[in-house]
């Protein structure tokens, strides 16, 4: 198991390297001088020169990369001249709404997706199965920000059950917190729930066709134990992968949905930074989200190893 963990962690190095390269070059594929673009048309030549110096743009490109990556390793994501604070500080300020939203959406998605998927697999071909799969197809076809708009229209504008937009931190009480978060979480969670349900169903169906299910049956095992013990544990691996992928989608999807509901999270930070052409912040936030995504998928892989002995032992 130790070797497996080590191997998985080592395999991240090339990926993280490429990710950092891509993020680094974002600022360099901008047409024109980034410093000039950042300051706008009214800037004087001196201001531009000064900013170039501050950003390190006057140094050779590899040197710029090493300075930047060196900062990141020590937790310094750069400095935002627009907000006049370090990117790390800005990021931490905007992190908790996004994290809360993504987490709530993921919980919703898992709690809906897995049971529905199992149910559909158990009743394969029935009307229940068909309607569940119909709903999940609809679910993966509605982008989260659109669902958010439609839900606002129906629940907030027409029925006036919930606030149209805004955010209350958890310090204002869990009820208040959820009141503002539940619509965004539903808009975000539906597509992921649909993806998880589809994967659960097909994975369960695959596993239920396996020979060892016949063996369990021939031992005299009860139907329940066959579905929930013998099948689900095997079917869980692909489901886990999807959950890992949905987490990345959730964090970024949260960014889009946040702008619909005016939630002061990472999404707002990115969108505002794009409007202000605040490249250090854009780079910092994108790098942060992608790193967390990669780390989450690493954790999922490690859980894989715990669930499936074949994965952990084949690495020996």
């Amino acid at each position: 198991m130790k070797e497996y963990v080590l191997k998985r962690i080592l395999s991240l190095i090339p990926i993280l390297f490429i990710v950092s390269l891509v993020v680094f070059f974002i600022i360099h594929i901008t047409p024109g001088d980034p410093a000039y673009v950042m300051l706008g048309d009214t800037a004087t030549e001196e201001q531009v020169e000064e900013l170039r110096g501050q950003l390190g743009l006057d140094r050779p490109i590899y040197e710029q990369y090493f300075i930047w990556i060196g900062g990141i390793v020590t937790g310094n994501l750069g400095y935002s001249y627009f907000m006049d604070m370090s990117v790390t500080t800005a990021l931490l300020e905007h992190l908790s709404p996004t994290a809360a939203l993504a987490l709530l959406a993921e919980i919703l998605a898992i709690c809906i997706g897995i049971p529905f998927g199992i149910l559909a697999a158990k009743k394969k071909g029935s009307y229940l199965d068909q309607s569940l799969m119909g709903f999940s197809l609809l679910g993966i076809s509605i982008p989260s920000f659109l669902l958010a708009l439609l839900l606002i229209l129906l629940i907030s504008v027409q029925l006036q059950w919930l606030p149209v937009a805004g955010y209350a931190p958890i310090s204002e009480g869990i009820g208040m917190h959820l009141k503002y978060l539940i619509l965004p979480a539903i808009s975000l969670g539906v597509m992921q729930a649909a993806l998880i349900a589809r994967m659960t169903r097909s994975s369960m169906l695959d596993v239920l066709n396996e020979n060892y299910i016949k063996t369990a049956l021939s031992k005299g095992a009860k139907n329940r134990s066959i579905v929930y013990k013998h099948a689900l544990r095997n079917a869980f691996l692909p489901i886990l992968t999807v959950i890992g992928q949905t987490f990345g989608v959730l964090v970024t999807g949260a960014a889009v949905v946040e702008t619909v509901f005016n939630i002061p999270g990472l999404g707002q930070l990115i969108i505002n930074s794009i409007e202000r052409r605040d490249y250090s912040t854009i780079q910092g936030v994108i790098l942060f989200i992608t790193f967390s995504y990669v780390i989450i998928n690493l954790l999922i892989d490690l859980i894989y190893g715990i669930i499936d002995p074949r994965v952990r032992l084949s690495q020996k």
Binding site: P14, I15, F17, I18, V19, L21, V22, V23, I26, I27, I29, T30, P31, L137, L138, I140, S141, I142, P143, F145, L146, L149, L150, I152, L153, V157, V164, G248, V249, V251, T252, G253, A255, V256, T259, V260, I270, I271, S273, I274, E275, R277, Y279, I282, I286, I289, T290, Y293, V294, N297
Partner: protein, 294 residues
Amino acid sequence: MDTVRQNVNLTETKNNLKKQQRRLLMRKFLSNKPAVTGLSIMLFLIILSTVGAWLVQYSPLEMDPTSRLEGPSAEHVLGTDNFGRDLLSRVIYGSQVSLIVGFSVALITSVCGMIIGLYASYYKRLDNILMRICDGLMSFPAILLAIAIMAALGPSINNVILALSIVYTPHIARVVRSSGIVVRKQTYIEAIESQGASSTRVIWKRMAPNTLSPLIVQSTFIFANAIIIEAALSFLGAGVPAPQPSWGNILYDGKLVIFNAWWMTVFPGICIILSTLGLNLAGDGLRDIIDPNS
């Protein structure tokens, strides 16, 4: 003489077999409800975006301050927006943008992804490098990478297509590579290679056709995702720039007036759902047709 006749017979039977296979595939396709429904929806949207644009009486950009935010009526079937522009016309022209972006991305990623995937599956050393790069790009959440590239390039339709192609090419490359490797390992490839077939011949004559079906399925889903992300980018103001209409930026305008003009959210919303639903249906159906296990 006899061998010649035999050869003729052989090609004839081969052609007959191919014809039979094609007929069988056609029958399988026609009996697959999701695929037929999905492609019909797409056909409907294509007709709407071409013929419809020709039929509408208002230009999508024509502002009329006297008739702002009017609900659906005989004059403006889907109502007007906050600048008094005809929503029907904007939605129809917007569908052109969405379909063009989606289709271009599907096409570009298919071509690039196929080349990368095939050569990666043929040359082991190339495989290592290319797949690490693909892994790197795929470890970005899709929308985020698109936002990052758009932030650098600035909003325009071409940039949206470019950004989404970069985002999705690795996905196609992965799919093509894995089916390419399966073909590569087959004994008959070894046989024709030992007879001196060149690598180009093996790659494009033998391996490429076998990777086509999974590629088509995957690119259908990419088409759908491209439409969704284009709409999201435009909604965020990082995609198709105003005043050119796209479903995403109509929704953006609609969000500002969501209390007084539901039609600006509902109609472009329906269009997005229809197109992605159609493509997802088609993708699911095609996968069922191609995959013998299902």
